[in-house]
Amino acid sequence: MIVTAIRPRMPGTLPTLTWHETRRYVRSPVLLLALALTAYAIYDLSRGVVADVDELPTYPASFLGGFGMVAACWLTQSMQRSAEALNVAPTPARVRTSALCLMAAVPFACGVLSLLAVVMFRRVDGDWTEGAFTTTDRFAVLLSQVAIPALGGPLLGIAVGRWVRAGWIAPALFLIIVGWVMLANGLADTYRNSLPVLLMRMFAPFTFFTTWTGGGVQTWRGSPVAFLGWQLCLCALAVTVALLRDTDRSRRRRLLGCLFVVGALAVVTWALAVTGGLHHAVITYPGGLPQPI
């Protein structure tokens, strides 16, 4: 006798799971803390004129991206703790992972709202404070510093949570990323035209493109638009890596192919981010033209 196991078709499983995971995620104390701190930081720093335009975007990236990553990782790991019950359910693991990835739309929406708040309420001395960038580049800088980390952070947390069981990994990873960004941008402040430092600075999920020097604004090397592409590739890599866990053989081959293509795209966008933009750092003073440093 041949017994054929037919997986029942579950209409609306993904939306239902997405809804449940989103509800769990927005109730996470870590995410609630991130939202409160982001709101306060935007309120506090938009009360007066800010000298350093990069200061305000740092907070949504740290809170929504960093804390969001930790919350998403712990939420994903909690799924592993109930694996015995979940594995007998007719819903495959990839649907549960897809639901978690769709849940990242919530912090991304918060990131977009933060971006709108930054654009509307941030007061600066003039356009010169945003460095020697075109309007497109300025928008790309803001998008890469505020909205995209709020999407990429949780997606990275989900990917890590699917593969690693230890809960301490997520906070440690967040602090490693903070350390790396501080290191790369700190070195860039001293070695503005160094290629190795530029390579380091662009090899990060978050970076700065300008810095305030007291009298003027330095604009560093690197293409903001290409860096945005690099960040989106990192997001796609995180989703693919998350889906690779507990998948069947045929899907695994397709996902590995997808991983290869996205990885190649990431390398290309990273190379473009390094080679594009200004060829040497410049400084802009009020009412003056950018001058090479």
Partner: protein, 199 residues
Amino acid sequence: MGSIAIMLRGVYWSAVAGLTVIACAMGAGGIALAHYFVGPPLLATAFALLAAASAFTLDESASTVVDVTPTGPAAQTAARAGALTAPVCGGLGLLVGMALRPTTVPTWAMALALIGNVLLGFAVAGVGRLQTGEPGLWASAATAFPLVLAPLYEPVSRRIHTFPSTRSEAISSNTWWAIAATISLLIIATAARSDRAFR
């Protein structure tokens, strides 16, 4: 001695050692770049990671069994404090590395910051241990995140310094860590005397 060794076997060593190693790597970067402005923030992040590591020393996955044994919470806490040697040794390595470089940051101020960080992480975990057998995750996050983000968050950093610096317009790190270490010791002493078996 034997019972201490047995109790130390239950420590979540992968978390304690992993966080200590990451802290040492980050701190080594901070020491190498001590003369750049990025050096002190990297060292401050490394110290915060040591605080997170010390928060994992009280984790006891078999707490339902251990908490009803005749060994009291004070003895258990004292034994677990032995696991603090890992983050403390990592921090001492960073202190020695910093002392060998001619910097403006006094070594004793960094030592005070190290003691404060480690005690703070242990105290937060001690309070969490009254409610759960494995408080490390939440305690480390509650300790490390504020310590890392406070210097980066301008509304806080203009009032409190959590790492030794030459700026003097806010509460100095020595004052801050002396207060934090004293309060942490009081919290640890109080939490170690509380009964965990009937939580």
